[in-house]
């Protein structure tokens, strides 16, 4: 099960698709989070289309890498990545948060095959990833484990329990990514409850810390390579991002943390991204098979 290993332009195009998916599914659900999913999109795309070995056709493949989003509220990007990667048909995205859909508001293991462990209560996911990394090492697997956390989430005490644990057990098969968009639901992170100096905190917990522009694909590729090459300690990628990245009226505005765009706003956003709501919704509806949708549609 080789990694896909997409090129930088291919990854940029796929990230654009993911952003369009996020906006289109939120326009349909009229419920859910916008800001974090859009800031997470670029490094998420690198993970799913280059860095990680995943096997949507055999979810329990022992050779798979494992991934876990501790920030469960970014389901719009999680599901868009999964749909684009072929875990389920892209058409399913339009059932996000709907009673009859299989895409819950927060990730649910038993509703959405491919989700390894449910999440949604902040602070817990890095511990889960620690267990995955340790269990994989006990079994002698080459597997890597990736955990996406948020910057506001750094305020949870359990994050630091997990940080201690991972360093103590030298889990170098574990890579955490922090979506460092500097916003949380009540405002700027530094105003709500300051977390700086964040890199120093992680260094002092004996982690390998990698700062990166979280929207620069080639830099993100390099950051994951450096994490992969690190021995004897876990790595954390501080992905410096912009909340709402890619949608002009959302960028860097904390008010977009937890709300969806209206249909009109979504259409505007999609026009900024070279398509429109009707066209992109039709693209989602037309993909009724779980597969990696071909590129070049409205791109």
């Amino acid at each position: 099960m080789p990694r896909l290993g997409m090129t930088v332009p291919e990854l940029q195009e796929r990230a654009l698709f993911v952003r369009r998916d996020i906006v289109a599914l939120l326009a349909r659900s009229q419920s859910g989070h916008s800001g974090g999913p859009l800031s997470t999109t670029d490094f998420g795309t690198v993970l799913f289309f280059h860095e990680m070995s995943v096997n949507p056709r055999r979810l329990d493949d022992p050779a798979r890498d494992m991934w876990h989003f501790s920030i469960g509220h970014v389901t719009p990007v999680i599901y868009s990545l999964m749909g684009e990667r072929g875990y389920f048909p892209l058409a399913d995205l339009l059932g996000f948060r709907q009673f009859h859909g299989h895409l819950q508001g927060h990730p649910s293991k038993h509703d959405t095959p491919g989700i390894e462990v449910s999440s949604g209560s902040l602070g817990q996911g890095l511990s889960v990833a620690c267990g995955m990394a340790l269990g994989s090492r006990m079994d002698g697997l080459k597997r890597r484990v990736y955990c996406v956390t948020g910057d506001g989430e750094q305020q949870e005490g359990q994050i630091w329990e997990a940080a201690m644990f991972a360093a103590h057990y030298k889990l170098d098969n574990l890579c955490a990514v922090i979506d460092y968009n500097r916003k949380q639901i009540d405002g700027d992170v530094q105003d709500v409850m300051g977390i700086a100096p964040l890199a120093d905190k992680w260094r002092s917990f004996n982690w390998n810390v990698i700062d990166v522009d979280g929207h620069e694909i080639s830099a993100i590729l390099d950051a994951f390579e450096r994490a992969r090459a690190t021995r004897g300690k876990p790595s954390v990628v501080l992905a410096h991002t912009v909340m709402g990245k890619g949608v002009s009226y959302m960028e860097d505005d904390y008010k977009w943390h937890g709300i969806p765009p209206s249909r009109e706003q979504a259409d505007q956003a999609l026009r900024e991204m070279g398509t429109n709501l009707e066209e992109w919704t039709a693209r989602l509806e037309s993909h009724t098979q779980p597969e990696i949708a071909p590129a070049g549609v409205s791109s």
Partner: protein, 334 residues
């Protein structure tokens, strides 16, 4: 209820010597159960939050150091690390005091473990007021209420050493998350190595049809003592050991209600949401009968010796006898 379970014994499983019972610690049953598992199941791993000796997981740690994970004083982390291990195919048992396992990491148990329905096995030590001198903070008396309210969770409160050992081994075969509550002090042995045990299947410990005493944990012994006292007055009480609070053996409880016409529940737990509540929920939906509840009445514990605390908090055999008298009076008045 568990699918592949043997029938509950209809005769008393063991005739215990009530006056001078053999005394053994339930936590030792947990420790020995883990040793049994360590030998036969390579997928079993054990986590502990800096309480190896007092939860008796030290037995496993000595024998299987490669499958033993010290987490330090971090119960929330431990619960979720266990979930991650389960996601890789391990059967993780974690151990800490019940006060922390059930309350401090309740959100982790709910969201990460139970919502995912992962086979994490939670060993809640120092359950009940019988913990003694440590006092209220360490006397867990809310676990049944908390755990049984969470979907997918299984809640087991074994009555003695042998039952704790068997429950521990049985939990490993159950595909769902389990919570096993056990205690610190020596408690009477009322079952034997060959007494049948199946998760979700209550055991009749003594036959009778004048009333049913439904108990769990150390209160099974107190119930047997009470039944003996009642027998000397010509009252024949059935003693039902409901070691599994969830899934509850509705069939055995309904039969007890139907055949006995009055019920006393006995538990070393808060009166709200525990065994009494669970049995009442079952009985009102099947065959309502007069019920009396022996439990801790909405109070925090305090330091003291096991026996004096159980007496002071109203959960000894004489309390069960008095509750039986009240239940019988109500039964006769119907």
């Amino acid at each position: 209820m568990s699918g592949t379970v043997p029938a509950a014994p209809q005769a008393p499983a063991v005739a215990p010597t009530l006056a001078k019972p053999e005394m053994k610690r339930t936590r030792e049953g947990f420790g020995h159960g883990l040793l049994d598992l360590g030998q036969k199941r390579p997928d079993v791993v054990v986590l502990v939050g800096d309480l190896s000796a007092s939860t008796n997981v030290s037995f496993f740690a000595e024998k299987f150091p490669d499958r033993f994970i010290q987490v330090g004083v971090a119960e929330q982390n431990m619960m979720c690390v266990a979930a991650g291990l389960a996601a890789t195919g391990k059967i993780p048992f974690l151990a800490t005091y019940g006060a922390f396992a059930s309350c401090r990491s309740a959100d982790q148990m709910r969201v990460t473990v139970a919502y995912s329905d992962l086979p994490v096995k939670i060993g809640g030590a120092h359950g009940g007021i019988s913990v003694g001198p440590d006092g209220a903070t360490h006397q867990a008396m809310e676990e049944i209420a908390i755990v049984r309210s969470i979907p997918n969770m299984r809640m087991i409160v074994p009555c003695d050493y042998w039952e704790t050992r068997k429950a521990t081994v049985a939990a490993a075969d159950d595909p769902h998350p389990n919570y096993i509550r056990f205690g610190r002090e020596l408690v009477p042995v009322v079952t034997g190595p060959d007494t049948p045990f199946a998760i979700g299947k209550a055991n009749v410990m003594r036959e009778g049809s004048d009333l049913a005493i439904i108990a769990c944990g150390v209160m099974v012994y107190e119930a047997l003592v009470a039944a003996q006292e009642l027998a000397s007055r010509g009252i024949h009480a059935r003693v039902l050991n409901v070691h599994t609070l969830k899934p509850l053996d509705h069939e055995a409880i309904a039969r007890a209600a139907r055949e006995c016409g009055a019920i006393v529940t006995a538990e070393e737990h808060q009166i709200h949401g525990g065994l009494g509540g669970a049995v009442a929920e079952a009985v009102v939906q099947s065959h309502p009968v007069p019920m009396e509840l022996v439990a801790v009445h909405d109070r925090f514990g305090r330091s003291g010796k096991q026996d004096e605390l159980m007496t002071a908090f109203g959960i000894k055999a004489p309390d069960v006898v008095r509750a039986a008298e009240r239940a019988l009076a109500r039964k006769r008045a119907r």
